[in-house]
């Protein structure tokens, strides 16, 4: 036992002391925030980032004349020119495309110099459809104003009954938490699992393995390594959590301060603002119960401790189970390039669950497939974390956890049988047949 502690200590310290660990731990939160900000920025400004396009329109039907509304990116310019002639000249005249609306039944055509983007085609199509719709509605004698009022969007407020009490269902928050924890577990299983594998290969290649296992059992070395690397992962997580709390706390404070500074200005503007709509918006900014406050409120409603505990459990045991497999792979090869053939079957369940979780589990957290996936040890770490924010019966959670622990014990045992032989094999190309033979060797 004492020796396992020594091994854990060495594995842990040698990694935590590395520069790359420190840099990664302190940079990732900033990178993450930066990435989210960048994606948000691009999504917000995507219209501005697109090129403006000019489309020359030849309307032979006469039905769309001055009916196509310009958008931010597309300007329609009408011409009475002959189609055949315009075909040859529109590029020279500085147009990106030529839209030809024939009289009668013929298809409407969009002629472009380069392949038009999907969004261009979509925009032109929707402009045409809108124009056609408006024309037909008018022909049928329907007032467009009445129609718009009739088409008013309805929003529902989802509630769930828990312990006999009504609660806001927080579906979107559950969504976000499920996706985030699923993603984190997926990344960690791969990152730390690979680290264990690299560690095993390093010991094998540097030949220290023989010295070490003349002092400790291979099983002790393997477990020590797995636990040591796992603790590194845990340390990184805790630091990330602490940092994001500090960062978001800091951000909240800055925002509050700015809001306070801005208050007199807003009041000033209020005096000047004649428009009522503008005033309303300003008030919204000022009051704390805006959209941001609603998010804060919904986060308060989820059981934070429960979710974090579940997350840590599934992260740790998911990691244990996969890193045992990665350790067995590392022991079977002489260098990292040979690992490919063994890594794929190991990572397949993770990738499969991850992909399925984004599309299926998150939308159907209580379907039988989701329940099964959250029970099977190799898929449960991701699948269960997707389900937990939506509420999971306690007996399912207990069954899944017990199965995961049992799965880990079995995997560690099986991996250790391959590991103890593999670490002493050099220059022998390991095949699956070979691995089974190693597994069968008696002690």
């Amino acid at each position: 036992m004492n020796k396992i502690l020594l091994i854990i200590q060495r594995e842990y310290l040698s990694r935590v002391k590395k520069k790359s660990f420190i840099v990664l731990t302190f940079l990732v939160p900033f990178l993450f925030i930066g990435m989210i900000a960048l994606v948000g920025f691009i999504a917000l400004k995507s219209k501005d980032l697109e090129d403006e396009k000019k489309v020359q329109v030849i309307d032979e039907s006469g039905l769309y004349k001055n009916q196509l509304r310009d958008t931010k990116v597309i300007t329609f310019v009408y011409t009475d020119a002959n189609y055949e002639q315009a075909k040859t000249t529109f590029i020279k005249e500085g147009y990106n495309s030529l839209l030809h609306i024939p009289a009668g039944e013929g298809a409407i055509e969009l002629l472009s110099e380069k392949k038009p983007s999907a969004s261009t085609i979509e925009t032109v199509e929707s402009s045409l459809s809108h124009a056609a719709e408006a024309r037909r509605l008018a022909a049928a004698g329907i007032d467009t104003g009445v129609l718009a009022a009739a088409q008013k969007r309805i929003e529902i407020k989802a509630k769930q009954i828990k312990d006999g009490e009504e609660q806001d269902a927080q579906t979107y928050t559950a969504y976000a938490i499920g996706l985030l924890s699923g993603l984190l577990i997926y990344m960690c299983l791969l990152i730390y699992g690979t680290q264990v594998m690299r560690g095993v290969i390093e010991e094998k290649v540097s030949r220290i393995i023989e010295v070490v296992i003349s002092s400790v059992k291979p099983m002790q070395l393997m477990l020590g390594k797995i636990i040591g690397v796992g603790l590194v992962g845990l340390t990184q997580f805790i630091l990330w959590i602490v940092m994001s709390v500090v960062l978001s706390g800091g951000a909240a404070m800055i925002m509050e301060k700015r809001a306070m500074d801005a208050t007199p200005q807003i009041q000033q503007v209020q005096h000047m603002a004649g428009n009522k709509e503008e005033l309303k918006q300003l008030n919204k900014l000022q009051q704390p119960d805006g959209a941001a406050a609603e998010i804060m409120k919904s986060i308060e409603n989820i059981p934070v401790t429960y979710t974090i505990c579940c997350f840590l459990f599934y992260f740790l045991f998911g990691y244990f189970i996969y890193s045992a497999l990665f350790a067995a792979v590392g022991s079977a090869v002489d260098n990292e390039t040979e690992t490919q053939q063994f890594i794929l079957p190991i990572t397949l369940p993770i990738i499969f669950t991850f992909m399925l979780s984004q599309s299926f589990i998150i939308n159907n957290p209580d379907s039988s497939l989701s329940v099964w996936l959250s029970m099977i040890p190799l898929t449960s770490p991701i699948a269960m974390m997707m389900r937990i924010p939506f509420g999971v019966p306690w007996w399912q959670l207990a069954a899944s956890m017990i199965l995961l622990v049992l799965g880990f014990i079995f995997t560690a045992w099986a991996a250790a049988r391959i590991y103890r032989v593999g670490i002493l094999m050099y220059g022998k190309k390991a095949s699956y047949k070979e691995l089974i033979k190693w597994f069968m060797y008696k002690d």
Partner: protein, 303 residues
């Protein structure tokens, strides 16, 4: 100290050790000899409990060898290895602690050894920044730091330059004088004669020869002598009590290799030649371990 009885080790496709038995006594320097692939490393791994034999038994001081003995054994594998990114001082301490030595005690001993081998200035250097000789010295320190009663060294001198090999050799002999039993494997026979008390010769998974070095050499004596003399090379040898095996002409002298006829003591040869030539040198030709090794191995291949 160690008694090996009928050890069998079978790998898929080939047999590494078949029915090998030998005894290593306390305080001996025991050489495990054999060409590459003879099974030396397999046997050494079994002695270190790294792998288990398929048959046979080993006792350590009369008790069956188990994990509890592992802390009394020091092992330096043929393929040396240390963590590349770890400081050597820290590394030596780590390995000693794995052998059950307390950190403070390990530190004290390590400091002493580092000074003795003149590598103390490199305590905080990483292995990858050290020369090969330096790495080997650190490895040696790591092997002996827990003061094992039995030291098992697989090809200890390979990879050392002559100067460092000599330093390590002297350290090994000094440990032996203090009572450490030493087993080392090698295929370099010249190191055997000066170091070993006893040897065992392995070839093709079998033990083909073992015993004390002196006894083995004596049993290979066959009455061959070398005579070096000044004077005429062509002299009459009729009636000599020996046969001439070969002759050789050197700058000032001649040399012949001779074999005494059955029942003739070697002094008879001197009686015979003294009146005829001026003798410079006369000595018995004892086969070197190398010759014994080669002839034994070849005999086994032929038979």
């Amino acid at each position: 100290m160690i008694s090996i009885q009928n050890i069998v080790k079978q790998y898929a496709g080939h047999r590494a050790l078949s029915d090998v038995s030998m005894d290593i006594k306390k305080g001996q320097v025991f050489g495990l000899l054999g060409p590459n692939g003879a099974g030396k490393t397999s046997l050494i791994r079994i002695l270190n409990l790294i792998t288990a034999p398929d048959g046979g038994s080993i006792t350590f001081d009369g008790e069956p060898l188990t994990r509890k003995h592992i802390e009394r054994i020091g092992y330096m594998p043929e393929e040396r290895g240390l963590y590349k990114k770890m400081e050597i001082g820290e590394q030596v301490l780590y390995l000693a602690q794995l052998k059950g030595i307390e950190r403070r005690e390990a530190l004290r001993r390590a400091k002493m050894w580092f000074e003795k081998l003149e590598i103390q200035a490199w305590w905080h250097k990483k292995i990858e920044d050290l020369s090969k000789g330096m790495q080997q010295k650190a490895q040696f320190v790591a092997t002996v730091l827990h003061e094992p009663e039995l030291l098992i060294l697989d090809e200890p001198f390979s990879g050392f330059d002559p100067v460092n090999a000599d330093i390590i050799k002297n350290e090994i002999l000094e440990l032996n004088r203090k009572g450490t039993t030493i087993i080392f494997s090698t295929h370099r026979m010249e190191s055997v004669e000066e170091l070993c008390d006893s040897i065992a010769l392995l070839n093709l998974s079998k033990k083909i020869l073992d015993g004390g070095v002196k006894q083995i050499k004596n049993s290979y004596r066959n009455g061959t002598y070398m005579l070096e003399y000044e004077g005429n090379a062509n002299w009459d040898l009729s009636g000599a009590p020996f046969e001439v095996l070969s002759t050789e002409t050197l700058e000032e002298t001649n040399r012949i290799k001779l074999k005494m006829k059955p029942g003739q003591p070697q002094n008879e040869a001197l009686h015979y030649v003294l009146p005829k030539v001026s003798v410079r040198h006369f000595e018995e030709v004892v086969p070197t371990m190398n010759e014994i090794f080669i002839s034994t191995v070849n005999k086994q291949v032929v038979s």
